[in-house]
């Protein structure tokens, strides 16, 4: 081979073999643990639990290293990257596992890794990796929409302290968080800080949700006062990057769930006999399955590229975050739709898992930027790129 191609075609076959082995092993362990410890019967019973997840599984997750994959070894983590976390997220999505990973690991730990002071890192990272403390992210406004203008919390920065007032909506896992990563408006910009859940003036109200695998809450900040040492550095750039991380994580979760739905449905299409033959031998059903495959494979590729190319900290905006989120969340809904239809009556029952996947797919679609929001973001990037091209020439 004389040279490697460079136009978007990844043909390098030598790099990353060792990492691939690590990820394969991580995947098989994660899948085994999820299948043994959190089958969907368990997911269903946790829906009625006030906490909503299995505390013991949370601590096992910590022991298995899932919570500290990106945390440097010096802080008790595994010193790996988002690509390894992506493997765990994919498997948790596959099993609809209700653990506060998106909130505490993707957003909370991510915010401290990218914007925390040495003191904050020392204070938080070892305990986050160990699963002894949890973070939640209050980074969306009352509507749950993303963007600085959608934020409903204002920060007033005074000489002695920072004062917060307002509300964050649709905050995942707020009821089990030890502290919040709060995004607040400061004038036209945004500032992020860590606020202890026990701080005076913080109030959490868990809201009902059609997807019972995730708990969302409204978090009130009523005259809350925090020290300057609580502030995270990075401002708007950190905020944008956290939103991208959340979007990529949801695209991975969507792929994991969609693949499981496809596998279950294809198996059903092979087993279910009507008119004296497997229903999967009928083209109408076969084509639904083929379209599911296309949706799942394109989601895999999009989520994979987005995870691999996500910057390790605030930087250039990631197009792939928006490509992957909009594509994979929509694909998940489409796959769940086909899954229900191919299953027919059994797929419409409460006992069958199909509706659990559809519910999670719909929540994934709505969280951290709708598909339209992400496409609008992409369109703005494309138009800006054109303006750049024009002004160069």
């Amino acid at each position: 081979m004389s040279d490697s191609p460079d136009l978007g075609i990844d043909v390098d076959i030598d790099v990353g073999i060792e990492l691939d082995d690590v990820r394969d092993e991580l995947r098989s362990i994660t899948r085994r643990v999820v299948e043994q410890r959190c089958p969907t019967q368990r997911v269903r019973s946790l829906a009625n639990d006030p906490i909503g997840f299995d505390e013991q599984l949370w601590h096992e997750a910590a022991e298995l290293g899932w919570l500290g994959l990106e945390i440097p070894e010096s802080y008790g983590g595994a010193g790996m990257s988002f690509a390894e976390l992506a493997v765990v997220l994919d498997e948790l999505g596959r099993g609809l596992v209700p653990l506060p990973v998106q909130s505490s690991v993707v957003l909370g730990t991510g915010a401290i890794l990218a914007g925390g002071s040495d003191e904050q890192r020392t204070q938080w990272l070892p305990e986050l990796a160990a699963g002894d403390r949890r973070l939640a992210a209050a980074v969306t406004g009352t509507s749950g929409r993303v963007g600085y203008d959608a934020l409903s919390i204002t920060a007033t920065i005074a000489a002695e302290a920072v004062h917060l007032a307002g509300v964050a909506g649709f905050v995942a896992d707020a009821h089990v968080a030890d502290a919040f990563v709060v995004a607040a408006r400061v004038g036209e910009s945004v500032e992020l800080m860590l606020v202890p859940a026990g701080a005076h003036g913080v109030g959490v109200t868990v809201e009902s949700s059609h997807d019972q695998t995730r708990r969302l809450a409204t978090v009130q900040f009523d005259g809350v006062e925090v020290t300057h040492a609580s502030r995270l550095s990075g401002g708007a750039a950190l905020y944008d990057w956290l939103i991208e991380r959340a979007a990529v994580a949801l695209s991975i979760d969507s792929h994991g769930g969609a693949r499981r739905v496809m596998e279950t449905t294809v198996q059903y299409a092979k087993d279910r006999i009507q008119f004296g033959r497997p229903v999967g031998s009928f083209q109408a059903v076969k084509h639904r399955c083929a379209n599911m495959f296309v949706n799942v494979e394109t989601s895999r590729v999009a989520a994979d590229v987005a995870a691999r190319t996500l910057p390790v900290g605030p930087g250039a905006p990631s197009r792939w975050a928006s490509i992957a989120k909009s594509h994979a969340a929509d694909a998940y809904v489409a796959v769940a739709d086909s899954g229900i239809r191919v299953h027919g009556g059994i797929g419409f029952t409460w006992e069958h898992d199909m509706h659990l996947y559809l519910r999670r797919a719909k929540l994934n679609q709505a969280l951290f930027g709708s598909s339209l929001w992400h496409r609008e973001r992409l369109a703005e990037m494309l138009v800006a790129e054109r303006s750049g091209r024009r002004s160069e020439s």
Binding site: S2, G8, I9, K270, G280, S281, K286, A290, H327
Partner: protein, 387 residues
């Protein structure tokens, strides 16, 4: 080791005719004439027959090197040799795998030199998706076959010299067991080629009528009645990065679409912007997916099951993308008119949109690709009523 990329880049810079786009300007015959001379130039430079073994005059290049060459051609805006693709891929790999030494000696050099342009006589009016039901009949007569029948959807048959022909030699055998694979000199008496005007207005395809056409038995590839197996094994063998030029072209057209939609004011509409961004996302994902399919192909040494999803996604996103842009331009998008029969290539968004339906049909329709995915990738059972 020679650095292929820089060597080829230098060679292209010195040899790509600067004015070829103006010379061709949407005229199909001019495009074919240019492709013939460009093929000869490539051959003289040692850059023809990339995937072919060196002993047959090829470069013996692996997939990665073939990708590098396509990338350099894109960068240099080199003329297309797409009209030679039947010769380079089908005829070439079929003769290399199944041909006799004499057949290889006679035909392979003339493909590389651009002297002989090949077309394909596979589809028939009553044998489209069900290709194996073909009825074009070949009867033994001494050292010859006498061929009678009709072929259709032969790209460039009106300008081609030779044709790969699937014929029925045993009408009593099961349909896949009675087919033979022949090479037909299109100048043989009894051959009539009629251009077929397609819905865009252009005539890229032809019908071929065969009446008592004499084909020497020496022009049969493989054993008699074994033509179906010969054609299928050829289709499954590594055929190079076939979709790469098309997918690269599609990616670059997103920029053209943004230009046109901004210039027309249509981009001010959020629905237009978001639809286009959706197409852009799918096109970028397709590019990455194709990269992975090619990487898998490199490891395995043959085109695997990835071909079906690429064909399906490419043609469907092309259809959606061209339609999105054409629709967004509103009535302006419908200005213009059908292509002339002599025209070829891209024209305007609406024409390109019409053209995209051809991609959803040729080479196995999108629904056939879904069958292939369902049966070969997902392992779903075949329809028991289909022979």
């Amino acid at each position: 080791m020679i650095d292929l990329r820089s060597a080829y880049r230098t060679w292209l810079a010195a040899n790509v005719p600067a004015d070829w786009r103006e010379v061709c300007a949407g005229d199909r015959r001019a495009i074919v004439a240019l492709a013939r001379t460009w093929m000869a130039e490539l051959n003289a430079g040692g850059y023809a027959g990339r995937g072919w073994p060196i002993e047959y005059g090829g470069m013996g290049a692996g997939l990665a090197d073939q990708i590098v060459m396509i990338e350099e051609e894109t960068r240099a805006d080199a003329p297309s040799i797409a009209v030679f693709s039947i010769g380079l891929t089908h005829t070439g790999s079929t003769l290399i795998q199944h041909g006799s030494d004499e057949q290889r000696r006679q035909h392979l050099p003339k493909i590389l030199s651009g002297d002989v342009l090949w077309c394909q006589g596979f589809s028939e009016p009553n044998a489209g998706s069900d290709l194996a039901s073909l009825q074009c009949r070949a009867l033994r007569d001494g050292e010859n076959y006498i061929v009678n029948g009709q072929k259709v959807w032969s790209s460039n048959a009106d300008v081609a010299d030779w044709c790969l022909l699937l014929v029925r030699t045993d009408p009593d055998a099961p349909k896949r067991k009675g087919i033979s694979y022949l090479m037909l000199d299109l100048r043989s008496p009894g051959v009539e080629v009629r251009p077929l005007r397609q819905m865009t207005g252009s005539a890229e395809f032809s019908e071929i009528f065969l009446e008592d056409v004499v084909v020497p038995i020496a022009n049969r590839i493989g054993a008699e009645h074994d033509g179906w197996r010969v054609s299928q094994t050829t289709l499954q063998s590594e055929r190079g990065p076939l979709f790469l030029p098309s997918i690269q072209r599609l990616r670059s057209r997103v920029g053209d679409a943004i230009d046109d939609l901004c210039d027309s004011g249509a981009a001010a509409d959020p629905l237009v912007r978001q639809s286009l961004a959706g197409c852009y996302a799918e096109i970028e994902i397709l590019g990455e997916l194709y990269g992975q399919v090619l990487a898998d192909q490199m490891h395995a040494g043959e085109a695997g099951s990835g071909a079906a999803i690429i064909k399906l996604c490419y043609s469907e996103v092309l259809n959606r993308f061209t339609g999105t842009v054409s629709d967004a331009l509103g009535l302006f998008g419908l200005q213009g008119g059908p292509q002339s029969p002599d025209a070829a290539g891209e024209m305007d968004w609406f024409n390109d949109h019409l053209h995209s339906w051809g991609m959803t049909i040729g080479g196995g329709t999108s629904d056939i690709q879904r069958n292939l995915i369902g049966e070969h990738v997902l392992g779903l059972p075949r329809d028991p009523s289909v022979a």
